[in-house]
Amino acid sequence: MTKNSMVTHESIINNSVPFAKRHIGPTSAEQTHMLKTLAMESMEELIKATIPDSIRSKRPLALAPGLSEPEALARMKELAQRNIVFKSYLGTGYYDCHVPPVIQRNILENPGWYTQYTPYQAEISQGRLEALLNFQTLVSDLTGLPIANASLLDEPTAAAEAMTLCFAHQTEATHQVFWVSHNVHPQTLAVLQTRAEPLGIEVLTIDFAQNTQVTDKLPFGALIQYPGSDGAVIDHSILISELKTKGVMIAVATDLLALTLLKSPGELGADIALGSAQRLGVPLGFGGPHAAFFATKDELKRKIPGRLIGVSKDTTDQPALRMSLQTREQHIRREKATSNICTSQVLLAIMNSMYAIYHGPEGLKNIAKRVHSLTTILAKALTAHSFKLVNDTWFDTISVDLSKSSVSLDLLHTRAEAAEINLRYPSDQSSSQIVGISLDETTTLGHICDLVMVFTGTNEESRAQVQTQINGLVYQPFEYRFSGRLVRMSPYLTHPVFHQHQSETQMLRYIRHLESKDLSLTRSMIPLGSCTMKLNATAELFPISWPEWNGIHPHAPQVQLDGYFELFRELESSLAECTGFDAVSLQPNSGAQGEYAGLLAIRKYHLSRGESHRTVCLIPKSAHGTNPASAVMAGMRVIIVDCDKSGNIDLDDLTAKAKEHKANLAALMITYPSTHGVFEDHVRAICDHIHDNGGLVYMDGANLNAQVGLCRPGEFGPDVCHLNLHKTFCIPHGGGGPGMGPIAVKKHLAPFLPGHPLAEPWEKWPSESLGTVSGAPWGSASILPISMMYIWMMGGPGLTQATQVAILNANYIAHRLHPHYPVLYRGASGRVAHECIIDLRPLKAKTGVEVEDVAKRLMDYGFHAPTVSFPVVGTLMIEPTESESLKELDRFCEAMISIRQEIAEIEQGTFDKVNNVLKHAPHTQQLVVASSWDRPYSREKAAFPLEWVKTTKFWPSVSRIDSAYGDRNLVCTCPHLTSYEGI
């Protein structure tokens, strides 16, 4: 035997690669090289030069060292198994369903679909834009309303958007009252009440069946749930037309599966239809993420919230898709916007659209009829056993009134629990004895049998008797259990796309065909500033497919949720440790919603101190558009603070405005590091100044990726911040959602954090809760394991290193590009934070080249553009993140430098200002291989501008898109092929 005295078994056994090395792009040798390039001796020297001493944290993260991937997965599995998955009949807008495996594997679990950002660069996003157009067509067809958006966050917030749309649109002098049917889902009512209060809207709950008489206090709008939350399917057309003649706008919350059988809201006269599309192929996920839908009449198209995909054309007159009418949105309208919606639920909406395509209209109708049929069998079986039903109409939900039955609520509860069944029981405070049962796509005759046995107390030995009874019912004729006037006669999903992909082979190819048109992180870096497009590791994503996380209804009882609560506790404390705050709420399910929740907490704080007059919110000019939009929604008055030449908040202006509004100051919203990508020296002084004047400080956490492990916002002044888990903590962007925007607060704001009317937490909801901001109690809970896995696998040291490398990568890019493009805004010592802004404005005057042209030309090199014209018009903001390797950073820099040379060729007069390779970018394969070529540059220059592009080539599927054409001629559903001829 040969002995090597230097090597022990121990060192070999423990020599696995730490996950941090997989997550962080540059190797240690590369990091050393990059530091040298920056003339820095060490990482510490770079960080010292970047982050002001005054805000550096004095202690490292108190988080355990990183686990390996197998260790973290084992721990996550152990946690998952502490959840108990009962069969859910809880309904209330959440229904179990079968996710077609071809969709689960090729979309939900496929980084080619989940790693992209919002489709801002439409030419390289045609795949998901088409999938979203299919979603809009699905929604528009089923709701009977022509304009449908590309999803909202959840049904309750969609209802709130409907309320504020009606509020903003009211033409007649009506009261500031919004009517809500008593039969809406309770979480919808809770969110409506929260959203209404700061705007001065009064929400009145009305039983429309009892009280169709219009009272003297005429509302500006009304919301009806159809079918009702208790299952009743009522014809509201007369009520709707009565209210409409009085100028009241009507919103209908509805269910897409039910609408395959029921007359559409559009046909009933509704102005708006909304709801959750979850049951079309998306798991329960303990409440999310799910896509909500929202559709309106044509006359409201300029008021509809959220992203709207529209058909336009490219320079070769080929049809091409892009986001249309963007001027409706918060990033343009800012404090004048009526909604702060930004990220929505793209990935889930795409799953819904694919589910509809896979099943087609007949298939969807069959699923609906099957659910309806089983509900009728259950209803008949229970009534045969003398149970009384509350309604004589239903689609998939029946309500059983136990007050007239020999079975007590407690007894039923005990039996159901033994059978591992969750029913919808009345709340503890209520004296009602009504139990709800909602069926879904997964329900079988066996389940009906289980339910009847639970209600009747039949033991297992007598199962055969119940089966016999049910078998008798099965052979009775099928009939709709709602008014014949409500039976749907109008067609839907007539477009060919909903008829051509119903074999798995066809479906797979359609999914792959669309995927190939999208540039995702599987191809190259997406250096979008302010978006943090880092690695979404596969191990982090694994748990979201486990039934212990995604098979649970959001209103399932506390005792079944040990695993979830442990996850929440640990994630909350880890996030509190990273940010230096005292308490965390996981409820907000997007960054913008986090902002809103944070501001509401501030509002509640002032109210609790008897200072309701404190409503002024100071916001720097450079803030993200969601900031002012959220502030207005929270009932605040926005005052804009100027920025100085280096991108920092103008201290003099801030001081003057804080002083001027001293008596009414509610808050300052800041982004840190600033939206300009700089660690401002004065942040402590700024926060002190606001506090001295009676206000609180809200920090936008969009740029937290520059801070984790190095500084803690809770230590340098802010009172509350939100965290974009989809940026800093690895939840994939999903092509435009889902996101998660939890908020972290200091002790004095903790009593005001969000609560929920339907779920119990492990402790109590905060005492003076601001209300409910999301439909589900813990937002999009089923994706929280992603962030937890990231934190476990990186550990404290790994997270800190990630931040350091994110800063190193940004400074390396700034250094390499600086000789070619001016880098705007640096900190006191000349360093940028985790992103940098390059200025293209000087080039426009000389060469006519605009920032847009550079963004499009990057596509020819195989790159997604950085953020265009935010926060400064005419610039690009580059955020490489820690996950990109040196090689990839160099490739990106080479592309940018090569483009600069192409611009120089225009400067020198070699190429014309209008007819050049930038103005014509991007170049499609079709264009480059066409038999005719009349451009002043070569085909090779167009398509393969650098040697390595030949091996990595990504072809944009359309050329430059004409945005004006699409905005002037809005088409937001799938056009039938003949209509393309007009283009």
Binding site: R302, L325, Q326, T327, I332, R333, S963, A964, D967, R968
Partner: protein
């Protein structure tokens, strides 16, 4: 860039052309160029009264949306339906076909305080435009 001599202009880039007690109002070629492709305009109903400086509508391009401000006080007497239907008219012909509204001026309204074309051009130069 062309700024008709007989028109008056405002700091917010509206133009006004006086025709007796009626005036036509539109948006200057400079503002149109800054906005980019115009895709939509919103205008008030005839008969609505506005004070000077009050917002009377909005103009939208693919990139942005701006308020339109009344150069002087008056009552809307006519709205350019052609421009509402075809907002491109503002780009193609901002001073003739691309007018927005006609207003009936209040008695004794003076437009003397507004920019003449030379002053407006000077204003654009000085404001760094």
């Amino acid at each position: 860039m062309n700024f008709p001599k007989n028109f008056k202009y405002t700091k917010d880039h509206e133009w006004i052309e006086l025709q007796g007690q009626i005036a036509k109002v539109g948006v200057s070629a400079y503002a149109i160029e800054q906005l980019g492709d115009i895709v939509h305009i919103e205008l008030p109903k005839s008969g609505t009264t506005f004070k000077a400086g009050e917002s009377f509508g909005t103009i939208e391009s693919t990139k942005t949306v701006s308020d339109l401000y009344m150069p002087v006080a008056g009552k809307i007497s006519e709205v350019n339906q052609a421009a509402l239907q075809k907002p491109e008219l503002l780009q193609e012909d901002p001073y003739q076909q691309g007018w927005l509204v006609k207003i009936a001026l209040e008695k004794d309204t003076s437009i003397a305080g507004l920019f003449g074309s030379d002053d407006y051009e000077k204003y654009l130069r000085e404001s760094g435009s």
